[in-house]
Amino acid sequence: MSHERLIQPRPEGPDAGGHFGPYGGRYIAETLMPAVLELERAYKRISKEPEFTTQLADLLRNFAGRPTPLFHARRLSRHLGGGEIYLKREDLTHTGAHKINNTLGQTLLAHWMGKKKIIAETGAGQHGVATATAAALFGMECKIFMGVEDIERQAPNVRRMELLGAEVHPVDSGTGTLKDAMNEALRYWVGAVEDTFYVIGSVAGPHPYPMLVRDFQKVIGEEAREQILAAAGRLPDLLIACVGGGSNAMGLFYPFLDDPVEMVGVEAAGKGLSSGKHAATLCSGSIGVLHGSKSYLLQDADGQITEAHSISAGLDYPGVGPEHSLFKDLGRARYVAVDDNAALEAFHALCALEGIIPALESAHALAYAMVEAKNGPADRVIVVNLSGRGDKDLGIVSSVMEEKSRS
């Protein structure tokens, strides 16, 4: 890719209506419209307040543990034999994933807006835990919507949310995963909109959420940019992050948009793109409207949303943030897909070679970085967003290992 291709045109957005090119917008019930309009106005006003900025910076530093390190994964890089891999250690934040950046931002905003109740959807449970944590910190009532399938496969996070005082509301409609949790959170919000703040966990949903979440997550890329300049003496060649809804990827990518840096978003190919059991929305989806915005979707010819599949609950989502759809169309970022097996291999490789247990979500990004590092020149600098830690996934990983040892 030429540098001109990488930085021209710089994707703009959102416009006044919340659109990123043809994507985004506010496709929601009229009952919710005044709430998202109010949120947009409040965010514009409050985010400019120096006091708000100071409070958020203090929370990120002294509560969440930022800045997170950028770690040079030397053994892994040497093992692969090409390119130097650096890991942005979002797994080291309080609660163990990048999600806390956004929930602290949104909950502080809710606090400034005078809201006392917050709700959130969660897939892997990381956003749920991060929301429950912020709610406890601010003394707010908190309800988390989570699919029954995800409650089963991410049980430790359910316990954590409950310990933090949140009520976990099981969602058994559809496939009982993230999409259904978001459906149910939206339904609940329609009935509680007058006193409840909805903390959306990804760069998805109606405007202003994709912008809001991007703004609260861009701290990842801002830090990483400074850190890589210090560590490698130059900008990276390649940024890699996993994409479910796309918040950790957007957080890493956004501050590099004006730089000649290649960006790759890694989706979940599940059991393989040809199997139909995957969550590779940008790689194989088509344009539609779900959960408040226009974006790429997994859907059938009739516009019915199809089931996503991934070993990683956080990527198991048939939609994607609208700004990623724009990046894809403009060629500003590339989107690829990595299957369950490759993610598991990367998971084990990082455990063995670097002493880090990554989240299965992040393992997808890592798996693609390993492919790039194996095939690329030795002086290439690659930054991977290690978006979360893998403790929550031990159950899934050990049951896969047991299955393999039996067969």
Binding site: Y27, E30, K179
Partner: protein
């Protein structure tokens, strides 16, 4: 005068309010769904809202979610609903409104949707997740005199926004009675009355009230303050509870008759 205008003019003349009935097309299956709707029309329904099933109905409560799932399971597609509409048009002169989420319409093609809907004899569409801010691309080529986009007004809609919405609206306005999804409990007709009054100040269009309306008493009370009453979940609950009954179309027709009667007694003591 189009069918919607004609209906409200007629009702006014007869001193009745509109009974607007919602059912999901294709629930429990396409043929029985046609029989149910035909039975409702014969029983005196004034306006039909035909629901297009969607996999992720985020504005609907459990009853309509399940009806949508049943319709999808019996392979109800939009092309089939266009055929059903054309078939119904041969049976009835009442307005038919296609009630949908936006994605099935987008997938069908916005132009194709409009052309086929008009050709099949539908009179308008209501797209629950398409606020005025996003509707320009859908309605760019529409002739509202032939086919209207029915607009929703919510309990949270401020009066200035009511006016903005109403100024671009046609047919009638659908006033959501309360915050929450379809089929929610806790209808408060005095609160609705205030909303209707605020809306009347900014529009001359007929106002129909829906969400959480289930009893003939609800219908009678709302008939006193509005121009029409929408029943959805209550019909779907009846369908669900009697899904295997051979008399299902007649049962829904009988219930329609009971509700319709309540729209006529607006000034009577109940």
């Amino acid at each position: 005068m189009n069918r919607i205008e004609h209906t409200f003019a007629e009702l006014k003349h007869r001193e009745e309010k509109a009974l607007v009935g919602f059912v999901t097309a294709g629930d429990p299956d396409p043929e029985r769904s046609f029989q149910i709707v035909r039975s409702m029309c014969r029983a005196g329904l004034d306006i039909l809202e035909l629901g297009i099933p969607f996999s992720d109905p985020t504005a609907d409560g459990p009853v309509i979610q399940r009806s949508s799932a049943r319709a999808l399971k019996s392979k109800t597609r939009l092309s089939l609903i266009m055929e059903m509409t054309a078939r119904l048009r041969k049976e009835t002169g009442i307005p038919i409104i296609l009630f949908s989420y936006y994605n099935p319409i987008l997938a069908y093609g916005a132009d194709r949707f409009y052309e086929e809907a008009v050709a099949s004899g539908a009179d308008g569409a209501l797209v629950v997740d398409l606020p005025p801010e996003e509707s320009a691309e859908l309605i760019a080529g529409w002739d509202f005199a032939r086919f209207a986009l029915i607009r929703l007004i919510a309990p949270t809609t401020p009066q200035q926004r009511m006016k903005t919405i109403a100024d671009d609206a046609a047919g009638f306005l659908y006033l959501v009675s309360k915050t929450g999804v379809t089929g929610s409990a806790g209808l408060d007709t005095s609160l609705v009355g205030g909303q209707v009054d605020r809306l009347r100040e900014v529009t001359a269009l007929p106002i129909c009230v829906g969400f959480g309306v289930s009893t003939p008493e609800d219908v009678a009370a709302l008939s006193r303050i509005s121009d029409g009453v929408v029943i959805g979940s209550a019909f779907e609950r009846l369908i669900e509870e009697n899904i295997d009954s051979p008399d299902l179309p007649e049962m829904v027709g009988d219930q329609t008759r009971i509700y319709k009667k309540a729209t006529k007694s607006a000034d009577a003591d109940l």
